[in-house]
């Protein structure tokens, strides 16, 4: 319903196109050809968090030239946090602006949930993408659901991430296998361990990892998204974080605002343990000479939270067909293998291995995951699925109120 009503305001080509695949689940090659024709020579504005220079460089130097060369599309990357993007879209919706500047947006979790609830996204569109149909298992839990919320074709997987810790083995001899050992390590090395303050992505994921380590994911998922119920359920985890506080960097008086700051502090030797949502961050940074050679990654024995991040198209994108070409291109084995390389980005691929040809598999197998990583299969076995999307802002608030205070 809402899908149709947003579309009505769009240009004629899109109207026909959208009505077509609203009726038919699959698109034929000729229709994709029409999308390619419509997007040739256009500019696609790609909005997403711009805090990681590696990610920016990958989009600018790998994706953009390929799009230019193969489809005549100019990719214009704009660094803007998802919170800002959603509020911009919300204001545009309030003002009934139909020719928005944002064509592709990098999104997941609670932000996707909020965007869908406010009808800020265009779709469903994933079944229209040839590469999605060919390489992605649409029924897989981490594609069909995003933080427990059905994606319904309104976002296409971009990559997979999992929270991974890294430490300087010269200074922190033992890898903490769980929260108790983390506390022990903090006591032994006071002032040299910290985590970013939620609602930073990585900080928020760290808090959820601790919550899952202490109270377990199962104890939570069935709860309602109610602050008091959650507060009671996660109380032991919050108590632990309070107990950890005096041994943290700045005695827990303040926390780094972002994961980039964690990276800098680790590179400076100011902290001995850090964490990242990019599983293969450490090898790339070791190779670049920023992290010490003695850096090693690890995960908790009970696992760390992991999730898929996605790409979506705003309800008022001016160039939705161009956006689909861009998203489709990011689902090619070449693009996915390229960003899998820790020297490039270190993001996990979203394609079904079984659906790849042997040449395509070779692309991934030839990637050197480098020094100091956790083996991929070991890591994936210790992957805790994310908590429901609407829990995230509530948990972040509870952290602010109980731990920070």
């Amino acid at each position: 319903m809402t899908f149709r009503s947003t579309i009505r305001t769009k240009c004629c080509m899109l109207l026909i196109f959208a009505l077509f695949f609203a009726a038919a689940p699959r698109l034929f090659a000729s229709d994709w050809g029409a999308v390619l024709d419509a997007s040739r020579g256009t500019i696609v504005n790609f909005y997403g968090w711009g805090g990681d220079p590696n990610v920016n460089a990958w989009l600018d130097t790998f994706v953009a030239p390929r799009l230019k060369e193969r489809y005549g599309i100019v990719l214009n990357r704009v660094g803007m946090g998802i919170g800002e993007v959603l509020n911009k879209l919300l204001s545009e919706k309030a003002a009934e602006k139909t020719d928005g500047v944002i064509d592709v947006v990098w999104i997941n979790g609670e932000n996707f949930f909020a965007a869908r609830r406010n009808d800020l996204l265009f779709g469903p569109f994933t079944q229209a993408l040839p590469n999605f149909r060919e390489f992605v298992d649409a029924a897989a839990g981490d594609v069909a659901f995003d933080f427990g919320f059905p994606t319904e074709g309104y976002e296409s997987p971009y990559g997979k991430a999992q929270l991974v810790f890294f430490r300087d083995t010269e200074r922190l001899k033992e890898a903490p296998g769980g929260h108790e050992e983390l506390l022990e390590a903090a006591k032994k090395h006071p002032g040299t361990i910290t985590y970013p303050a939620p609602p930073d992505f990585t900080g928020s994921a760290f808090v959820r990892t601790v919550v899952c380590d202490i109270v377990g994911r199962e104890a939570l998922v069935s709860l309602p998204a109610d602050k008091e119920a959650l507060r009671k359920a996660v109380a032991p985890a919050m108590e632990f974080l309070v107990a950890l506080k005096p041994y943290l960097w700045m005695r827990g008086e303040s926390y780094p605002a972002s994961s980039s700051q964690i990276k800098n502090m680790f590179a400076d030797g100011e902290i001995v343990l850090g964490m990242s949502y990019t599983p293969f961050l450490a090898p790339g940074r070791i190779a670049a000479g920023e992290f010490p050679e003695s850096t090693e990654s690890f995960v908790f024995e009970k696992g760390t939270v992991g999730n898929t991040h996605f790409l979506a198209i705003p309800f008022n994108a001016s160039n939705a067909s161009g956006a689909m070409v861009v998203i489709n291109e990011i689902l090619t084995p070449e693009a996915q293998a390229s960003k899998y390389d820790p020297a490039v980005w270190g993001d996990l691929p979203v394609l079904e291995y079984a659906r790849l040809s042997s040449e395509e598999r070779a692309l991934f197998e030839s990637v050197d995951t480098g020094k100091g990583t956790v083996p991929l299969d070991f890591m994936l076995r210790r992957r805790v699925p994310e908590l429901p999307a609407n829990f995230i802002p509530i948990l972040d608030e509870i952290w602010r109120e109980t731990v920070l205070k």
């Binding site: 998802i82 509020n87 909020a114 609602p199 700045m250 303040s254 802002p393 205070k405």
Partner: protein
């Protein structure tokens, strides 16, 4: 009457721009603060957001934090700025290269100033390295927290670095235009230099000092960049708290943000009133 008409005619472009944009920009914030936000289906005006924000645990610490950094930084800027102006005047270097150099921070934006303060005062900054080299501390952890700290010292440092030269320029111009014989005759009459400053010069400087103080106070109270970049996680400065609520993934949180925006604007308007009051005094003095 004719001159009044002429005056308003001359003022029309400026008033039109300021009136339409400034008031037109503030009005939606005001409406949203009362929970009137039709875009997300909120159409019932209510005071509940004000009640919730005022009763919340972070509002008061945030407000106090913002007032504190604004007060300390602008008071410091006025005091040290006056000192710098006196030094420039006494050494006769005000119009020379030193005067120009002293004014450089005025043109450097706050974001850059934040970077400078980080480079110097962070736990692995130059100051910590100097303290390490001279044996005062043995690790970055031994360094007292000067940025991201709850006292907001890093933020204050940014505002001081920018504010001192600004105040110095204002005071220097007033001092230069002042009748220097006033000061000299006071010293001839047996007053110490300090007494001459305290009883002769200071009263004449006071209107400019007050208006500069209010201007800097207002600016550092409402500005967002510095506390956003090197402020503590708790309490956040009021503009940072407002911004964070604004970008909350749930848009029904926007009224909370707008309540804080309205509070900031209200306090700023009070300061505007004070500022114009002091400015009038300054004009009478000159």
């Amino acid at each position: 009457m004719k001159s009044a008409l002429r005056a308003y005619l001359l003022l029309t472009p400026a008033l039109l721009v300021l009136g339409a944009l400034f008031l037109g920009g503030f009005a939606p914030s005001l409406l949203q603060s009362f929970g009137y936000f039709p875009a997300v289906g909120m159409t019932e005006p209510t005071l509940s957001f004000y009640r919730e924000v005022f009763g919340g645990r972070e509002f008061l610490p945030s407000l106090l934090f913002s007032l504190r950094i604004a007060f300390l930084s602008s008071a410091g800027a006025v005091v040290f700025g006056t000192l710098l102006a006196l030094l420039l005047l006494r050494t006769g270097r005000g119009e020379k290269i030193e005067g120009a150099l002293a004014a450089i921070p005025v043109i450097v934006p706050h974001t850059v100033a934040v970077l400078l303060v980080l480079n110097l005062l962070a736990r692995t900054g130059l100051l910590a390295r100097l303290l390490f080299a001279s044996g005062f501390i043995s690790s970055p952890d031994g360094m007292p927290s000067l940025v991201f700290d709850r006292g907001g010292l890093g933020v204050i440092a940014v505002y001081l670095w920018k504010g001192i030269p600004f105040a110095a320029v204002v005071v220097y111009v007033v001092l230069r235009n002042m009748n220097t014989r006033l000061w000299e005759s006071a010293t001839v009459l047996g007053a110490s230099r300090f007494q001459a400053f305290r009883y002769v010069v200071l009263p004449l400087l006071l209107p400019s000092l007050s208006s500069t103080f209010v201007l800097l106070f207002g600016f550092s109270f409402g500005a967002f960049e510095a506390p956003f970049l090197i402020g503590p996680t708790f309490p956040r400065a009021l503009p940072v708290a407002a911004y964070s609520a604004y970008i909350h993934p749930d848009p029904t949180f926007r009224p909370y943000s707008m309540v804080m925006v309205v509070v900031i604007t209200f306090i700023a308007m009070l300061l505007v009133y004070l500022y114009s009051f002091f400015l009038a005094g300054e004009e009478r003095a000159s």
